[in-house]
């Protein structure tokens, strides 16, 4: 693929020229013939990359769907074709890739259309006003501060000349060719030199149509001869280019530069600005150029020659571009004229803020700045090159002759954008029609300002006043420019204030932050109120920021370290990927076709660059943000200005830098004491470079700070109070108390150890209690204490008393006496039966018992022997009598017992009765349960029932139960468990002791008969006729009487003993 710019062969897949960096479009033809079209701007490839406002006219919005044809249709209505090509992309408002001056043209055109007398309507159109940030005030058309000044000649100068031209063609042929080529969206502007001349022949033709009014000039249909119309109109492209040539060669030292007035005279047919527009429109719109274009006018002025050198260092400009650069001023003067008109009309003193529309369309957005900057980046008129300033005069033909246009209005430094602007002005028919209307208003306004000077006279007057203004502006640019432009030096007072204000923000002033922006502009730009917030905009775009760094502003050591590193490493590395990562604005425009410009610009140095810290924040946004690499002049470490070399950015500025570019932290030596981190905390911090130490920046800054003092140094020495010493850790105290030659411990578990901690005196010393006063004890408390003491004393005495009781037991001799008495009574009764007559009567009647036994004659009788051998002396006699009785009446006996011994006694008793039929039921186990079981058998209706299977025969048929017992439980159990269940009569033969127990049951009928004791036995035996049972009641009676006597005597004795004891106790 052949580069349309330099003709160098490039690989087919290359997008940019390897030689010049120009963009290589795929559809571009390799032929170096006629210019086919302008190169597509960035926005054309990415139409959706920008959010178009609703107010933006359709023809400015990219519309891929409609295609180029539809766009062209819009051109016939609103814009020329060349503008269509540029306007199809969103780059119009895009910061990164501006379309180059088109917006500027639009702005200027709209300003003109608005007119000076209509504040509400004279502003930007709605779609353009919509682009301004919300909340912004009216556009700077309200700068009334300039009203009292001489009105600046506007478009009416040259437009008036155009109006007089009757031969103006509808449209220049070259524009037609350009328009035709735009449809293909290829054809770089660089190909213009091949066949450019014919196109300018008809330039005056279409310009004359501007006066026609709203009629759209017919576009030529023969793109092959774009310059034909222009040549026919008498315009010589060669001459025109020749005139432009010096303007482009202004930076060239020693080159003669004609003044603006001279250039204006040399180009009567086509104004310079138009030529510049044409050339600018033909130039390649490289996005990188916008970065430089974004530099404000005043900045460009301050740069002086450096600006051009900077441009030359990054790109090359073809000769055609240079020719078009001059016309860029035409684009700029449009809006400037309208602006001035506004100011003139309002008569209000201009404030120091940049106009909103300028901020919107001029400063922050590259498209707008192209046209504006075309004039801004005028050839510097520094002291080194004083002859370069006049070379800018031809670019501003509207500028009054003899007056030197201000540097910032010069357009020669922006050839590409100026050319774009010129082209835009050539082809924008509708727009020019609107301009025409605006011009008419301007004329009217000028007549109002200068009454009595009608028509041409008024315009001339305005032109003269404008020249004065320019003269003043030139005079205020500094001594350098004044020397370089002697013509303008004397007319310094003609510079309008607003221009002076703009220039006042030049880097020479050293304070870019002083530039104030309008409200909405400040919102649009990064906040510059605080340096910390403003820095990121600069840090993110270092290459843009350093574009304006003046090399002459400081020594090399002023450059921050990070910048040095960047320029040495990263920027150097960026050259390797220059073709891919991006290009410097002028890379794509450097062609072999403009060797002069290349040489001129290439020879410039980077010494005159605005300082990075002097660059305003908003400039970071103005400068195109797309270029991510530093400019070429920064790639070389030597090219870094001395001002910045070796210097460090302030901390607040370093924070905003990218990580890779962020400078190393401030060395500890330079930090104030209170900022020095603790030991070990800064292990990860980079070491301070010698350059940082040697640089005097921090030394100066820190030198101003007050000398730090050690914390507590100002405090006077004092003794620690004791109470505070007491709080000292024990470890510390021990460390202090331990002597070096501590003796080993000799005792205790720590014996042999040295340095053992001694026992604390407080612990070792006996604790002495000190009473602060006598305790108050109440009388009640004392009594209670005394009672407690008594109880304590009495407790052991009570134990003694227990022992004393044992002593009080009766004497055994008394027992012996009693025993003797008892035996005596018994023996006396035995041996003396007649000693006393004893008539025995049973306690309970025996008759019922005898009746039961007698009723059961012949039937079995269950005889239970529930007594032990201890009672055998009594119950055996009773059993013997009863058994004999039963035997006598023929009743068989079934005997059983709940006591093992009783069973034996029963057996003996049964066996001792002759003729008695007996059945041994045996032992009755289980007590109550066993008795309950027997009761079931005894109550059985049928003999031999299941309940009586385990019992001897006849048990269930027992006629009576004869219970012989001496135990209460046995008697009760038999009554409760058997007698209550069965119907068998129960006769109890009991002892005298059990008679009281059996008496209630006998009374209730539960016992059918009771035989209690020997008396009952004797009575029963007597009633039954049994004689062998011998019962002697005398011994028992004597024993009973004895017992009774002893009890009585005993009670009496003990009664008196008790009384005596009680008396003793009472006495005790």
């Amino acid at each position: 693929m052949i580069c349309p710019n330099c003709g160098q062969q490039n690989p087919p897949d290359s997008k940019f020229c390897n030689n010049c960096g120009a963009r290589l479009t795929s559809g571009e033809k390799t032929g170096a013939g006629a210019p086919e079209s302008f190169p597509q701007p960035h926005g054309a490839d990415e139409p959706d990359a920008l959010d178009w406002g609703e107010d933006v006219p359709d023809w400015l919005k990219p519309d891929d769907a409609e295609g180029d044809e539809q766009v062209i249709s819009h051109v016939g209505e609103d814009l020329p074709t060349w503008l269509l090509d540029e306007g199809t992309g969103p780059a119009l408002f895009e910061d990164e890739r501006p379309t180059g001056g088109r917006e500027s043209r639009i702005d200027s055109g709209e300003e003109d259309e608005a007119g000076p007398g209509d504040q509400d309507k004279q502003g930007l159109p709605e779609w353009l006003r919509g682009l301004a940030p919300k909340g912004t005030g009216p556009l700077p058309s309200s700068r009334a501060g300039q009203a009292d000044e001489t009105p600046t000649p506007s478009l009416d100068d040259w437009l008036a000349g155009l109006d007089e031209s009757e031969e103006a063609p509808p449209a220049p042929s070259w524009l037609s060719g350009v328009e035709a080529e735009d449809e293909d969206a290829t054809g770089p502007v660089d190909s213009w030199p091949d066949e450019p001349q014919g196109g300018f022949e008809s330039a005056d033709d279409w310009l004359s149509d501007l006066d026609v009014g709203d009629d759209v000039p017919p576009l030529p249909e023969t793109p092959e001869e774009p310059w034909a119309g222009l040549e026919q109109s008498g315009f010589s492209v060669d001459e025109w280019l020749a005139e432009l040539e010096p303007a482009e060669q202004q930076p060239e030292p020693g080159a003669p530069e004609p003044s603006a007035a001279e250039d204006a005279e040399e180009e009567p047919g086509v104004p310079d600005w138009l030529a510049a527009d044409v050339e600018a429109g033909a130039s390649t719109k490289e996005p990188q150029l916008d970065a430089l274009e974004a530099i404000p006018d005043w900045l460009a002025d301050l740069e002086g020659e450096g600006g051009r050198e900077e441009i030359a260092g990054h790109g090359e400009i073809t000769g055609e571009d240079e020719g078009l650069v001059g016309a860029a001023g035409g684009a700029g003067d449009d809006w400037l004229s309208s602006l001035e008109d506004d100011w003139r009309e309002e008569g209000v003193e201009a404030d120091e803020e940049l106009p909103a529309w300028l901020k919107e369309a001029g400063l922050p957005s590259e498209p707008g700045t192209s046209g504006t900057d075309a004039g801004v980046e005028s050839p510097p008129a520094g002291p080194e090159e004083p002859e370069e300033a006049p070379a800018e005069a031809p670019a501003l033909d509207w500028w009054p002759a003899g007056e030197e246009a201000p540097d910032w209005l010069m357009v020669t430094e922006e050839p590409e954008e100026a050319g774009e602007t010129a082209q835009t002005g050539d082809e924008d028919a509708d727009w020019l029609r609107e301009l025409d209307a605006a011009i008419g208003q301007l004329e009217a306004a000028s007549q109002d300002v200068l009454p009595g000077v009608p028509g041409e006279a008024a315009e001339q007057e305005l032109a003269s006043e404008e020249d004065d203004l320019e003269t003043r502006d030139t005079a205020e640019e500094g001594p350098g420019e004044g020397e370089a432009e002697p013509e303008a030096g004397g007319a310094a007072g003609a510079v309008p204030d607003w221009l002076a204000e703009l220039e006042a923000t030049s880097p020479d002033a050293g304070d870019m932050a002083e530039v104030e922006l309008s409200g909405w502009l400040q919102e649009a730009t990064p906040d510059e109120s605080s340096p910390e917030e403003a820095v990121p905009a600069e840090a993110e775009e270092p290459e843009q920021m350093f574009e304006a760094i003046p090399a002459e502003g400081g020594a090399e050591e002023d450059l921050p370290d990070w910048l040095v590193e960047v320029t040495a490493s990263e920027l150097a590395a960026s050259d390797e990927v220059e073709g891919e990562a991006g290009r410097w604005p002028f890379d794509g425009e450097t062609t072999g076709e403009g060797p002069e410009v290349t040489e001129i610009l290439g020879g410039e140095s980077d010494d005159e660059i605005v300082g990075a810290d002097e660059l305003p924040d908003w400039l970071g946004d103005v400068v195109g943000a797309e270029a991510e690499e530093l400019p070429a002049y920064l790639e070389d470490e030597e090219a870094v200005p001395d001002v910045l070399a070796g210097q460090r950015l302030p901390g607040w500025l370093e924070d905003s830098l990218p990580d890779e570019e962020r400078a190393e932290p401030t060395p500890l030596e330079e930090l104030p004491p209170w900022l020095v981190p603790p030991v070990g905390a800064g292990a990860g911090q980079p070491e301070t470079t010698p350059e940082m130490v040697e640089s005097g920046e921090w030394a100066d800054v820190l030198g101003e700070l007050a000398e730090s003092q050690e914390i507590g140094a100002e405090l006077s020495a004092a003794e620690i109070p004791e109470w505070l010493e007491a709080l000292r850790p024990q470890e510390e105290l021990q460390d202090r108390k331990l002597p070096a030659d501590a003796e080993p411990v000799t005792e205790g578990p720590l014996a042999g150890l040295r340095g053992a901690v001694t026992v604390m005196p407080v612990v070792a010393a006996p604790r002495s209690a000190e009473y602060t006063g006598e305790p108050e004890v109440s009388q009640e408390q004392q009594e209670q204490a005394e009672l407690l003491r008594q109880l304590v004393r009495q407790e052991p005495q009570e134990a003694t008393r227990v022992v004393a009781r044992e002593r009080a037991r009766p004497s055994p001799w008394l027992r012996v006496l009693l025993t003797v008495l008892l035996f005596t009574a018994v023996l006396a009764g035995l041996f003396l039966p007649d000693l006393v007559a004893v008539e025995t009567t049973p306690v309970m009647p025996i008759a019922p018992a005898a009746e039961v036994l007698q009723a059961g004659s012949g039937r079995p009788v269950l005889v239970v022997f529930d007594y032990t051998p201890a009672f055998a002396g009594i119950l055996n006699d009773q059993a013997s009598v009863l058994l004999q009785t039963l035997a006598a009446q023929g009743s068989p006996v079934v005997y059983a017992s709940q006591s093992a011994a009783g069973l034996g006694l029963g057996t003996t008793a049964v066996e001792g009765v002759e003729g008695l039929q007996t059945q041994r039921l045996g032992y009755i186990a289980g007590e109550t349960v066993g008795l309950r079981r027997i009761a079931r058998c005894l109550g059985a209706e049928s003999p031999g029932a299941a309940a009586c299977e385990s019992y001897p025969p006849g048990t269930g048929e027992a006629a009576a139960i004869l219970l012989l017992t001496a135990e209460r439980d046995s008697l009760i159990d038999w009554i409760e468990q058997v007698e209550a269940v069965s119907e068998t009569p129960l006769v109890a033969g009991v002892t005298e002791a059990l008679a009281p127990v059996a008496a209630p049951y006998y009374a209730t009928g539960q016992l059918d008969g009771v035989l209690a004791g020997q008396a009952a036995t004797a009575a029963l035996a007597e009633a039954s006729g049994i004689e062998d049972v011998r019962l002697s009641p005398q011994p028992l009676a004597l024993a009973a009487w004895l017992a009774a006597a002893l009890l009585l005597v005993g009670n009496i004795v003990y009664f008196f003993i008790g009384l005596v004891g009680a008396r003793r106790t009472r006495k005790a």
Partner: protein, 213 residues
């Protein structure tokens, strides 16, 4: 001869028991221990002979007889009760003891209610006066065992006056009853003493060729 030895042994043991009249002495304790031991042994022999052996013969003769199966339950309880001698498994005997105590208590309770309480309460006989006296004396006796009262300022529980009065009546009833029991017991004891003296006098006299008058 054997009878004489038996009577002599009996007589000696009797003297040992009566030695208690002069106080607790080892001879009395020896006699008591012999009596308890002999009585227990005799009871055990009687139990084995009268209960265990017959049951064992029955079960061994036909263990699977339907009539014998119910005996397995008391047999198991008896075996478990023997485990009380083995400490690790002594807890297994608790079931047997529990069954014995529980069942015995239940049966005794029922018998007391049906055989004593109810008959004594309603069986006052034909004499209503006696029945009323019995009821009153019973109530007085029960009130004597009522110790519930109110605590006075000194912290001593004091029964109400009327309760103390009734309790005194109950106490009198108890004293009379106990006196009757004691007198009966005394008579019984004297009767037993007379019988033993006479027995041994008779035996001694018989040995001497004499006799009592």
């Amino acid at each position: 001869m054997n009878e004489t030895i038996a009577v002599l042994i009996g007589f000696v043991l009797t003297l040992l028991i009566y030695s208690y009249l002069v106080g607790d002495n080892p001879l009395y304790r020896l006699a008591v221990h012999l009596l308890v031991g002999v009585s227990a042994a005799y009871a055990a022999v009687i139990a084995v002979r009268e209960l265990v052996w017959p049951l064992a013969q029955r079960l061994l003769a036909d263990p699977t007889a339907p009539d014998n199966l119910p005996w397995l339950v008391p047999l198991i309880f008896a075996l478990l009760l023997l485990l009380s001698l083995i400490r690790p498994v002594a807890w297994l005997s608790n079931s047997s003891v529990g069954a014995l105590v529980g069942v015995g208590a239940a049966v005794a309770l029922v018998g007391a209610i049906t055989g004593t309480l109810i008959p004594q309460a309603i069986g006052g006989g034909d004499d209503a006066v006696i029945a009323a006296v019995v009821a009153v004396l019973t109530v007085l006796t029960l009130l004597y065992f009522q110790f519930t009262g109110r605590r006075n300022a000194d912290g001593v529980v004091v029964l109400p006056g009327w309760q103390r009065l009734l309790a005194s009546g109950g106490r009198l009833v108890l004293t009379i009853a106990l006196a009757a029991l004691f007198s009966g017991l005394l008579i019984t004891s004297l009767g037993l003493l007379v019988e033993r003296v006479r027995f041994y006098l008779s035996w001694a006299l018989d040995l001497a060729g004499g006799s009592l008058p």
